[in-house]
């Protein structure tokens, strides 16, 4: 029979300390310490994620990667072509076209992407090596080659946390490229996205590209700009008895293998 010890004292002391830290953190008293400590600890995170990325890249098919890159490039060309066609039509109709404002992007390295099983299950969030000191703010969109990665949800002085577009808490208005069907892209977790709330009168097509419709974007770049690629429609669920139809959307990005992304800080 093992000897009993006075663990109650230890429990009470450290529970009290934890609760003090928790309360101070909730109020915001620990923000400077929090930011400083995150800055000190981030190189370890960065190193681990870098090593992990190298290991997972080692076994990946290079041909598949080339095809993926080509696919992304072709989709972008198709979007640009559609935009040009729209512009021409608008010019013909003598509408004034406002030039798109230049976009400021901040390059950021991914230093953490926690997923349940590394390399198998998709991550839900990303940790970036850029923070408030680099102009990063909560609500800004994060992209990679015109593909939407997610939104910044938390920031510290040196780091920021991004909620991926596939996260269950993620929701944004979208449209399809060829049919202009409107809907809401909801993250399903585990790498899945559903385009929901599409009225039955709109047309959804398989392999159609899903783009952001655009939220309110202020001068700090807060919000999601229009025409960023969310993914591609892979299957459609439409029943006449339902009010809305929905589609499964697959992002063109492999979020688990992203090492560099861009944050839109000014629009």
């Amino acid at each position: 029979m093992p000897k009993r010890n006075n663990f109650l004292v230890y429990f009470l002391i450290f529970l009290f300390l934890s609760l003090v830290v928790f309360t101070a953190s909730k109020i915001g008293l620990l923000k400077p310490v929090d930011s400083l400590a995150k800055g000190i600890l981030s190189p370890f995170q960065s190193l681990t994620y870098g090593v992990y990325s190298k290991i997972t890249d080692f076994g990946s098919d290079s041909k598949l990667q080339v095809l993926r890159a080509q696919n992304t490039e072709l989709t972008q060309k198709l979007i640009n072509q559609n935009k040009l066609a729209d512009d021409n039509k608008a010019l013909r109709d003598q509408f004034q076209i406002e030039n798109p404002k230049s976009t400021n992007l901040v390059e950021a390295q991914v230093i953490g992407a926690p997923g349940f099983l590394p390399g198998i299950s998709a991550p839900e969030t990303l940790v970036l090596d850029r923070g408030e000191n680099d102009g990063i703010k909560v609500g800004q969109a994060v992209i990679y080659e015109d593909n939407l990665v997610g939104k910044v949800v938390k920031t510290s002085a040196f780091l920021s946390n991004v909620m991926l577009v596939t996260n269950v808490a993620s929701s944004l208005t979208v449209k399809t490229l060829s049919t202009q069907a409107l809907g809401v892209a909801k993250g399903q977790g585990g790498g899945g996205i559903i385009m929901d709330d599409v009225v039955l009168s709109d047309t959804l097509q398989k392999q159609d590209t899903v783009l952001t419709k655009g939220d309110v974007v202020d001068t700090n770049g807060i919000g999601v700009p229009p025409d960023l690629i969310v993914g591609e429609v892979t299957s459609i669920s439409k029943f006449p008895s339902d009010l809305f139809q929905k589609a499964s959307v697959n992002s063109k990005l492999d979020f688990g293998k992203l090492s560099k992304v861009f944050v839109i800080v000014n629009n």
């Binding site: 928790f22 620990l30 780091l159």
Partner: protein, 135 residues
């Protein structure tokens, strides 16, 4: 024993902050508590909980509070159950992982994650016991 615990917790901390949501820090703490019943584990639970919150963008203190309560419950049950057994570790790992992942909002495949965590906990417990006996 202390050195091994700190070493494993440091590795677990980095892994949990960078690439996985499996609660390795929690599992190591409860495995060492069941094997050694040492009070210094409360200090490690506090320190590594804070570090984990810092690196994982969580509210500071949330992990350490949870870890400390779990360790306390393990010690509280030592008079009712034999805590240094595989069955106890399996059950505690499952329940605590489930609670911890739920608390942090990892609701995707929650049962599967908790089940896998309990198996990892059991394997770690067997390894720690072996090292402990040899040491």
């Amino acid at each position: 024993m202390k050195f091994l615990a700190v070493l494993l917790l440091s590795i677990a901390l980095i892994l949990e902050a960078s690439i996985t949501t499996i609660p390795f820090v929690l599992l190591i703490l409860l495995v060492f508590m069941a094997a050694s019943r040492a009070n210094w584990l409360f200090i490690l639970a506090f320190v590594f909980g804070i570090l984990l919150d810092l690196m994982g963008f969580k509210t500071l203190g949330i992990s350490s509070t949870f870890f400390i309560i779990v360790l306390f419950l393990i010690l509280l049950y030592q008079s009712k159950f034999e805590i240094a057994t595989g069955v106890f570790i399996l059950a505690v790992s499952f329940l605590s992982s489930f609670g911890y992942l739920f608390l942090l909002g990892y609701h995707q495949n929650l049962f599967l994650q908790a089940a896998l965590s309990s198996i990892i906990g059991l394997i770690m417990f067997k390894l720690v016991l072996r090292v402990n006996i040899k040491g």
